[in-house]
Symmetry: C4
Subunit: 200 residues, 4 copies
């Protein structure tokens, strides 16, 4: 089965999610600089969620590049992932408009956890389809980031529950930074493979 259309549809949905979040940044009514001030929590949530959707797009790009084909169950796992990601504009907006209050911050962390779970399911289905010796399985490797980030989300949810929402937020920012640190592993595996294919 062709993977192109799965990529195209996912790109479309991710592009829309990342862009409609900015609609939550309502144009303020005053014309003074001070009119922008109350927007800082919404803006901060926007930056964080923009980074997360960017990370998911980036990882999706790499994972699909290492994949050769997709199956019906991969299509559904992908839609499942897109579903939880599509709720991010809502949970981001609720957290931002309530200045990182307890429940909204917990719900945001829960949303991140569900996205991570859906990602894990998608990854597992793809690896099962390609086999344990495939390029994909090697490119993923021990998957330290994928395994540790849910712990960050969990820690953040617990911190928010104990009414330390800013500590919780720090965990969510930390998990994002973890992903932003370049990890040459997958790029190297993909490059070796490419070089191997070119060799006669």
């Amino acid at each position: 089965m062709e993977k192109n259309r799965l990529e195209a549809f996912s790109d479309g949905v991710l592009a829309i999610i990342i862009t409609i979040m900015v609609l939550e940044l309502k144009v303020p009514h005053g014309e003074e600089l001070s009119a922008l001030l109350p927007l800082w929590p919404v803006s901060l949530s926007y930056v964080l969620s923009f980074a997360y959707v960017g990370i998911y797009w980036n990882n999706h790009h790499h994972m699909m590049q290492a994949s050769r084909r997709v199956s019906g169950s991969v299509l559904w796992s992908n839609l499942h992932l897109l579903f939880w990601l599509s709720l991010l504009p809502f949970t981001t907006g609720w957290m931002g408009e309530n200045h990182f209050a307890r429940w909204p911050t917990m719900l945001y962390g829960l949303n991140l956890m569900l996205c991570a779970l859906a990602w894990y399911i998608l990854q597992t289905r793809l690896v099962r389809l390609h086999g344990p010796d495939s390029l994909l399985a090697r490119a993923i490797g021990p998957d330290k980031k994928g395994k540790s980030s849910p712990l960050f989300y969990l820690a953040g949810v617990i911190a928010a529950c104990l009414d330390h929402a800013y500590v919780g937020l720090a965990f969510f920012v930390g998990a994002a930074l973890l992903w932003l640190i370049p990890d040459r592993r997958m790029e190297r595996v993909l490059m070796e493979q490419e070089a191997g294919e070119r060799r006669p």
Copy 2:
């Protein structure tokens, strides 16, 4: 005629429909968990419509994969299908905001029926273009799901009309589940074909 652009345009429209529905989930004003409670009917409708758009995208993907070319009448049948699908965010919103009241639930069911009818027209045009012995015709086969789901929608509309909107809703959920049950038929036909093409 090239089928790529028809796929790209359909992917774009479906990706937008599936994502703008979440805009109906208005960010609540309170910061308590109880502020989320009144959102359950809108959320439930969103999940259901997300599943339906996902099903249509999935089926569209498979049908176009089995197709070799498109004609002017296929382009228009496809736009016709996209038209009814584009009304889903509206009917979903009306049903959700009115807690599955009689008329909104009936209209939602009617919308599903019109989508199914438009799908049937598109499928018929494509089969006529490719011939009864084509890969497409064989992949579609007796089309049991396609023929039975309008009956579910009709039953749902009648139930809603008799003021049993939740029974109606159950029928709509049932039809969606019917499509979610994996049906290996089309995948198998496509794989056999692929294998056949590789054989010398």
Copy 3:
């Protein structure tokens, strides 16, 4: 220069325009069927504009298929066309919410005229780039529809100006129907070309 990205970007913009128009269909507050009644002018405008964007996408698809390459001036002419098309949700909404009043209907007609003009400019640039004997020039032919539809829009604008907005609307519907009537000309030229390329 590659034409793929021009197609992809145009597909994206057209897909978004066609879908955000439905956001003008605000979910009504009542749950009775009568709550839908006041929506008929907005719904009618939506159907008309959906048809127009569909027509433009269809024609764009055919014109780009007959084209071999694009230039910088083609890119800008294409953006110019997308600009006027992107105003359609606005003019559609104004016309629908004011029940086809005089000025909104005139503005809608003016918008259609500007789209047609932008289309003509784009077509002329593409023909100049490909030469008068090109497949593109032959596929366009005498371009009767392209030349007559601005007259329909003009007649509609004049009718609306004389306070016969429904007559004006009839002209806009008429021009859309003109395009919906299948015109086998371009398809035939493209097919002959394809057949010619396959011939040894």
Copy 4:
């Protein structure tokens, strides 16, 4: 690494940004021509930002065409550019709704400067990846426009700060016109390259 998906995702985000800006053009309530009059500042801002997003898309198209591959840091530089561009609908709306007041106009100019900076970073990463003798490096050349436009934005921000917002606006319009003037350089380099590849 494949550049196609980076192009597809960027096309999607740019297409959405360019189209959702029109949502700021709220449908007026009156049906008289005079009801449109208060919309002129929002409309003017919309036209300007439409031109800017169009310019970025156009330049992105050309730069990626001259590129052979992308790296992880290019993916992130591209997302960084898309982030600042995604804020344009917000800053455009604030400037338009406040009739080009001091602070909103300054913020709009600042947004343009940050987009230009992000563009410069992306370009630098791509040139570093391809080497100083690459087609890309030659196509960019001395990059006079890229180097002078930030000066226009800076001048515009300073003018707005001194309460001459319309002078500032003129600088922003000027920088856009600078880019709209066709610059055959990159097209010529790309064409020569193409011709060279065809030569035996």
